[in-house]
């Protein structure tokens, strides 16, 4: 951690970053129909203002001395009980600044896009006017931005947790935005519940921190890491990791993220691709003193990342719903980020670079998917697309750039962010280097395959549309954000591979010299070979289109189509036993416990007949009992007074 600087100038107003979108959300959700006409404009303006403010603060932070690039702002005392003291305090440092810019910058573009997207949304499903639905949407969207900014700006774990559950709420509200669709309602609930499982781990980690070091503030906690035993560190890290896997859709809590695609597409872009789902990476990066202090812990994080990146990539190959392919791709790409932050050292910065690059290209991909769906009457099945490049040229071009970026073609951002992660994975000593490096390499090939499949089936090859479809390009309010995100995708990778590492150095420390199994050049060559094989293979297989119904397939494809049985396992292990247990307990409570206690009472009171009589002539009996009670007490007092017990 670097030293704190004086919060002067713009940096004295960090709280405004949270307050502006929060106030806007409150207005949108409380103002009622009055705000239907202009609510969406306020929603965009508030996020835009936060972005400009963030940009100004970023500039001021950069002007500070490299080792004093952090400011704290204590707003008020949140909790003060016994030795526990938690402030509502904000911390603006290089790590937070990067996230603030991503959240508000990409967030602003997606807000603008959403204005166009919602204009054609099926609002009648919820009996709302179009204006009301739009206002509600922007209210939730602003709420999300505010909560996400609390998450990345809090200077202690409890505030991080407040933002953490806040984004979970916004995610729930937005997944279930079309709440009258049963699938959307179920998906929202599933997301919240699986997140809560992770959150339980996170909150236990906070308890453990307080028990260990008596504080939950970052500075105090990290100062105390050296004094913790390795067992405590391991448990602490695993609990934090559980929280991170829940929020980021990582194994074993990955199943909710693809279902979250039930939400409107801008939600998928902002929350379930660019920002919220990367919160787990933020948590681990923020807690790097804890994770770096225990080797076992790092291995677990790397394993989770490697397993998830393969799970996501394999399932991504087998899906036919354009948004689900992208969702599984998100799961997989975040796996790369987990892999990177698990490697530790300089790889923290690599994970964050990939996070930023991913924020741009995946947002672009989702928004492009939304543009395609809009042009194709909400069709999501890629088997029903084909040849769309001629009809949606801007969408095709921007989507294409993002496709090249995600599969890691130089000089786009994905190349600069993913390639070093693969190289770093090979840097691990011994067989683990081969294992994790190999997994990352295999993932890169699979990514090239499924993304090429998606791109080709959607934009090229023969038309496989349903009757009467007339694809058309989206209006400028949607295409301009697409273009800007594409520009970011082209520019960002190269920019970030140089400056972001330097920027984050004070946070994570200097990089040790690599001592790898393979040189960086060898890894790059291998990666490019794998990517080309995957990409060309995908193009060759699907350039003539595909069958409209799922073809019979071998065990791997069948398993991938069933999400590698993740949902089935959850159902068998938790859902069904849970339902059975609940039903059994309801029965026991109604018959057993109630019966026993009633029976006991009846026995004491002289049989159930007496109880029945009490029920019928109740008031009389009640008076009787009170009288008896009074007599008893008076008698006792008199007895004592008379000295019978003396």
């Amino acid at each position: 951690m670097s030293e704190l600087s004086e919060a002067s100038g713009l940096l004295g107003y960090v709280w405004l970053l949270v307050a502006i979108p929060a106030a806007s959300a409150a207005v949108l959700l409380l103002a009622g129909r009055r705000a239907d006409r202009w609510g969406h404009l306020l929603g965009c303006a508030s996020v835009g203002a936060a972005f400009l403010l963030g940009l100004g603060m970023f500039g001021q932070l950069a002007d500070l001395d490299e080792h004093r690039r952090a400011v704290e702002q204590q707003l008020w005392t949140f909790l003060a009980v016994g030795d526990l003291r938690v402030d509502f305090g904000l911390l603006f440092d290089p790590l937070a600044a990067v996230f603030v810019l991503l959240i508000t910058g990409v967030g602003f573009l997606i807000h603008v896009y959403a204005v166009g997207y919602l204009a054609h949304a099926p609002h009648d499903q919820t009996h709302e006017s179009a204006g009301t639905a739009r206002r509600r949407f922007f209210g939730y969207f602003n709420l999300f931005v505010a909560a996400m900014l609390v998450l990345v700006l809090g200077n202690n774990y409890l505030l991080l947790y407040v933002g953490w559950e806040g984004v979970g709420l916004a995610s729930y509200l937005l997944i279930a935005f079309w709440f009258s669709r049963p699938a959307a309602a179920t998906a929202g609930k599933k997301a919240f519940l699986m997140n809560r499982v992770g959150d339980a781990g996170f909150i236990l980690a906070i308890f453990l921190l307080f028990a260990q070091v008596g504080t939950v503030q970052f500075s105090g906690v990290f100062a105390g890491v050296a004094g913790m035993s390795s067992t405590v560190l391991l448990v602490l890290g695993l609990l934090l990791l559980l929280g991170a896997t829940g929020k980021s859709g990582q194994f074993p809590l990955q199943a909710w993220l693809p279902d979250a695609m039930e939400g409107p597409t801008p939600v998928s872009a902002l929350i379930h691709a660019a920002t919220m789902v990367t919160a787990g990476v933020y948590l681990i990066a923020r807690s790097h003193p804890i994770f770096s202090a225990n080797l076992t812990l790092q291995t677990v994080v790397v394993s989770v990342g490697a397993a998830t990146l393969l799970i996501g990539a394999i399932i991504g190959c087998a899906k036919d719903d354009i948004k689900r392919v992208l969702a599984w791709s998100t799961v997989s790409q975040i796996g790369y980020m987990f892999l990177a932050v698990g490697l530790g050292g300089v790889a923290y910065a690599l994970g964050l670079i990939h996070l930023l690059a991913h924020g741009f290209f995946k947002a672009g991909l989702f928004l492009g998917a939304g543009s395609v769906m809009r042009g194709m009457d909400d069709q999501v099945d890629i088997r029903r697309f084909g040849g769309l490049w001629r009809f949606l040229p801007i969408t095709w071009a921007t989507f294409g750039l993002a496709w090249l970026a995600i599969i890691g073609i130089p000089p786009l951002s994905g190349f600069f962010s993913k390639d070093p992660i693969i190289a770093a994975a090979f840097d691990r000593p011994g067989w683990t280097g081969w294992l994790f490096g190999g997994a990352a390499l295999l993932g890169a090939g699979l990514t090239a395959f499924y993304m090429t499949r998606l791109f080709v089936l959607t934009f090229h090859g023969p038309k496989r549309w349903t009757e009467g479809q007339r694809p058309h390009e989206s209006p400028p309010v949607m295409t301009i954000p697409l273009i800007l995100l594409a520009v970011g995708t082209v520019a960002a990778g190269w920019l970030m591979s140089t400056s972001v590492v330097d920027w984050l150095t004070p946070v994570f420390g200097e990089a040790p010299e690599p001592h790898g199994l393979l040189s960086h050049g060898q890894v790059t060559a291998l990666t490019m070979a794998v990517v080309v094989i995957g990409g060309v293979g995908g193009w060759a297989m699907f350039r003539n289109g595909t069958a409209l119904a799922p073809a019979p397939a071998g065990p791997v494809v069948t398993a991938a189509r069933a999400n590698l049985y993740g949902d089935a396992v959850n159902a068998a292990l938790f859902e069904k036993p849970g339902r059975w247990l609940t039903r059994a307990l309801v029965y026991v409570d109604n018959k057993g416990i109630d019966g026993i206690v009633n029976g006991l009472a009846a026995a004491v009171g002289g049989g159930s007949a007496r109880i029945r009589r009490l029920q019928t002539g109740f008031v009389r009996s009640y008076a009787m009992s009170m009288l008896l009670g009074a007599l008893l007490i008076v008698g006792a007092f008199v007895a004592v007074q008379a000295g019978w017990f003396a």
């Binding site: 206690v597 004491v604 009992s625």
Partner: protein, 509 residues
Amino acid sequence: MNDFPYLSVLTAAPLVGAVVVALLPRHRPELAKRVALGWSLAVLVLAGAAWAAFEAGGDRMQLRESYPWIPRWGVSFTFAADGIALVMLALIALLVPLVILASWHDADSPGAKRSVPAFFALILVLETTMIGVFAAADVFLFYVFFEVMLVPMYFLIGSYGGARRQYAAVKFFLYALAGGLFMLAAVVGLWVAGGQTLDWQLLTQADLSTGVERWLFLGFFLAFAIKAPFFPFHTWLPDAGGAAPAGVAALLVGLLDKVATFGILRYSLPLFPDAARWFAPAALTLAVIGIIYAALLAVGQNDLKRLVAYTSIAHFGFIGVGIFAFTSQAGTGAVLYMVNHGLATGLLFLVVGMLVARRGSALITDFGGAGKLVPVLAGVLLFAGLASLSLPGLAPFVSEFLVLVGTFTVNKPVAVISTIGIILAAGYVLWMIQRTTQGTLNPTLSSVEPMRRDLSLRESFVVAPMIVLIIVLGLYPKPLTDVINPAVEATLTHVDATDPAPEVPEAQP
């Protein structure tokens, strides 16, 4: 104004109001409602003045008044409040007018068999007994209020409730009476063993033998465990909460049941500290079972009001854990939980009542997709649900966090198992929300005419103050914790408990 007899006036005022309301003619129900509401608001103002007169950092027992009653027996009308009692008094004074406003039409009936003035008079009588039980500083006075409290509640459930109201009222009464008898025996025993006085202050210095102390503790504890209720004495609550009018149910779980947890803090721990420590593992076990067990049962309910009642039992488990963990965070969290639960579950009961009154049924299967018809009401239901599942940023989170973090420092297994309860809470709340307000619209629902009316102005006056308080206290709980904390610390000194030091002390900033 510090010599003003706040507590006795506060106790008596609603009773006077009740008499006035009861004397109003039956055929002028509107007048009775307005007088009752006005009167309860006046009580609220008075409670505000009492709050202002209370010094947060001052003596433990403040606003003390004492009048002779039965001097021969050492029994007196003694009132005094510590921070714990004060916040509960404020909560009572706040909730009663809101419940009166929410229950505006609950006593109306076409057959006119039920008296409207009597209903509102009973609520005011209930307010008197509830204020009295929290303001009493004499064990006998406490006991009297504890028992008398049942009477207005019995009639409110038995005369104004829904289906099975007679069964529920009787069950409620029998359980409470049974608990009361245990307490009565313990009170008499205490009087004998404690030097023939029932003054709280004097009794805290009494020297009891181990055996006597344990028996007396058990007597009080049984009464409180039934009242709260703790597992396995809980089965009366779903029946009572399910049958009572929603406003009355809100008073029952939001305020009346808190007497039990308050009683443990005020009487069981200071008067029987050694026994409290001895029984603590057993009490913690019951509380933890309650958290998990009641949450699972809540998931399985198909009746909205019974569901809320079960969530309440789970929440009382958290309060129990907080009390018996014996740390300052857990104890303060438990008291704060009592307040926040009153707000959150009170709101939940009231909103559920609004839905049930429209639909004419409390069965979840009779709803479905209601958010389409009554979007604002559905939004308030969601808010109340989120408060109940302790969403961070809302008041109940603060108390749940304090309870769990304080417990974790001394008893990890209990804290870890209790934490599972926060996952289950998300389950029962969100599943209830989904089945009630989300999904496809239940076709019969739109044919029920009242279901087309969203939140009325009267109803928004009920929910708005609670929503505001839940948010404000969720972000800035300090005004409450500053009042509660000294009283909890004092209670902990009775049981001789101190907070453990952090295991890596050098990390303290």
